[in-house]
Amino acid sequence: MRLRLVPETTNWDFFSRSKLWLGISAFMIVLALISFGARGLNYGIDFRGGTTIRTQSEQTVDVGAYRDALAALELGDITISEVFDPNFGPEQNVAMIRIQAQDETDSVSSETIVAAENALSEVTPDIRFVSVESVGPKVSGELIQTAVIAVVLAIFAVLVYIWLRFEWQFALGAVVALVHDVVLTIGVFSEVGIKFDLAIIAALLTIVGYSLNDTVVVFDRVRENLRKFKKMELKEVLNVSINETLSRTFMTSITTLIALIALFVLGGDVIRGFVFAMIWGVVVGTYSSIFVASTSLLWLGVKRDWTKTDGKAGTQFADIDA
């Protein structure tokens, strides 16, 4: 007996409540935007400039004492937080200290860092500084710019690709789904307050890639069925296509989630935020490729007569043989 995530044949109507689903999505997007507007993102030093020091000691972390020790140096805004992770042994007490940017262009100077390290060593003699990172505001400004360009460029590039391979309605539907995923992910980050750094941009772009992957598989089937069932209503064609690909959609999402959850639990705290973003992205991406992308396509309508102009679109790679 095989493991089946969904029944062998499904005939669920995904559009009977399409307004409800779109309503929920719209509501979530508004929530995400409000959260983003009200709380903002917890930018890491990559985007804001400043210094983070990761400390490790056998002695337990005393946040208050650390704060007092550093306050004397007058370095401005300082955040200190203890890090917990199931991988840490009992002797491993880790804290992250963030110091605001001190200068207009440069990273925090070595003398400042040494002074901070010395002050902390007095509080906890066996303290070690396992990573020290400092980014100047000049670079961080550029990093934000590059990151935004990267995300916009990625969305635009796939828009063009899908437009070339399918029809503009498909491209638009896919991009609506993408923007939906990216906005919701940013919303979660601002709401939960996870550190938003360069790696998260990589995660965002992966979500873009994953969500597309899902959407494209559904759209590919839609294209095929549009040719196969020439008289069927578009809504029906979409429903059939989603049902037919449903089993694959779930299989891939589950295998990806299995791998990501393993990484989330066991991969250490350094990349946990990054992996969290991807897990969230896979869940949202799967949802959006079914409900958002397809519904958008339904509303946009599609040109039905594929045979004349673009008869080969779906099969031009199909003669590649093993």
């Binding site: 062998e8 990273s107 070690r128 396992v130 990172e133 089993s247 299989m251």
Partner: protein
Amino acid sequence: MLQIDLWKRVLIWAVCIAGLALALPNAFYTRVETHNDAVAAIEVAGETPELAAKSAGWPSFLPSSLVNLGLDLRGGVHLLAEVQVEDVYKARMDSMWPELRNALRDARNDVGTIRLQPSGDDELRVKISQPEGMARAIEVARALSQPVSSITAAGARDLDVSGDGDVLIVTLSEAERTAMDDRTLQQALEIIRRRIDEVGTREPTIQRQGADRILIQVPGIGSAEELIAIIGTTAQLTFQPVIGRGSNADASVPGGQEVLPSLDEEGLYYTLETAPVVTGEELTDAQPAFDQNGRPAVNFRFNPTGARKFGDYTAQNIGSPFAIVLDNEVISAPVIQSHIPGGSGIITGNFTVEESTKLAVLLRAGALPAGLNFLEQRTIGPELGQDSIDAGKIACIVAFVAVLVFMFLSYGLFGFFANIALLINVGLLFGLLSLIGATLTLPGIAGIVLTIGMAVDANVLIFERIREELKSARGPARAIDLGYEKALSAITDANITTFITAVILFAMGSGPVRGFAITLGIGILTSVFTAIFVTRLLVVMWFERTRPKTIEV
């Protein structure tokens, strides 16, 4: 139908075996690394029994390229420095002044007396007492300009000369500035490389980034301070004539002169001529030494041009002091006792032995043409890197096993085929990463785990399709064939879109993010290859052997 030509089968297996062979050294990372280091050492220094024993730890007929570990995994220091190219403009204009002054003095009859005005870093403003002679002054200044020495700016001159009322303005032309920036960066790169080599760490990365930045990555160092102390010092050594000394830091001085503090004596300032007699560029050697009183000092020797200039100057100025200036601080200002013809000398000051040794290293490696601003500095301790590797390894293995089990439960025998393909896929991925010498970073490990999860996607698409085709009651052979054929367009489109995002990430990202883009991109290539060639071949081979009447996917 289900037929694959023999040559294609051979090719597919050959690719798999080659990939796995390339991946093999990574399974014995430390052993291969020792071997590689020993081989490199033998090449440089000749063979010793000890090195030979080390290199024998890995057979030399096997591939020995490894995946490079990024700084976040290996530990080390990452610095992004901005070269202050404006420094060079200023030095250039300063050394230009005596030449311009002499040329204008020769034209005294037309331009009258001249006076240097306060000027910006990249210009000289000269006031002339006879404004009607401005045309002549411009002509004189223009005659000093030279063609820009770069290929792209052929024909351009290095100076822009203009007149504003009674002020002659000489600035560097745009083409000259670009050419100078380029030279400055090249020099800075070279000097930084030499300094890091003098300290002797392994495999540093020193690259130019953009117009005026240098990226420096040195694995295996525990603190950035040490590295910054070595490469951040300009070590600009000059010998300048002394005009006077005093205690006022803001003493006003005429153009062409400057006030610099003493290194040792607080509150003591020297007034110096800005244009140096000789600079550190003309040193050929510097060694730590001791002076007559047994105090640490640095011995130096000039090259022939430097020696001649220094000799001429000392011959003409016996009895007057000159200053030895390092990075805008006066180390000492001895009085010239006699003509010094040999071109060698000694720098004394209040040095410790360490300081004199470091100064000698810096002088030997050469001065940085301009100062450095450190825009970014990151230090990752080796233990954090090791923790990340360990955690990443466990996560990879768990993810891998979970996906294997899940696939087998879902697709039975076909799932088993997909699992073999997945194993080969990860092997190929590591093989390719080693082959191109890619750098594995922590997000890169995440990329591998993600690839493991997503790699089965192509197989899932195919298997689901075969299931559907089986429902249409065709024979198993036909169903498998159609399954592959019809799933292909979805596989292609889905993977190309993901690949596009990987390419954009690679182009826009840096460091760890780029490492992620590489593993994601290569993972897509290998997973598509294994899904449409390797599993297919496995399925066909199984089918040929058993010829089943019905199949269950």
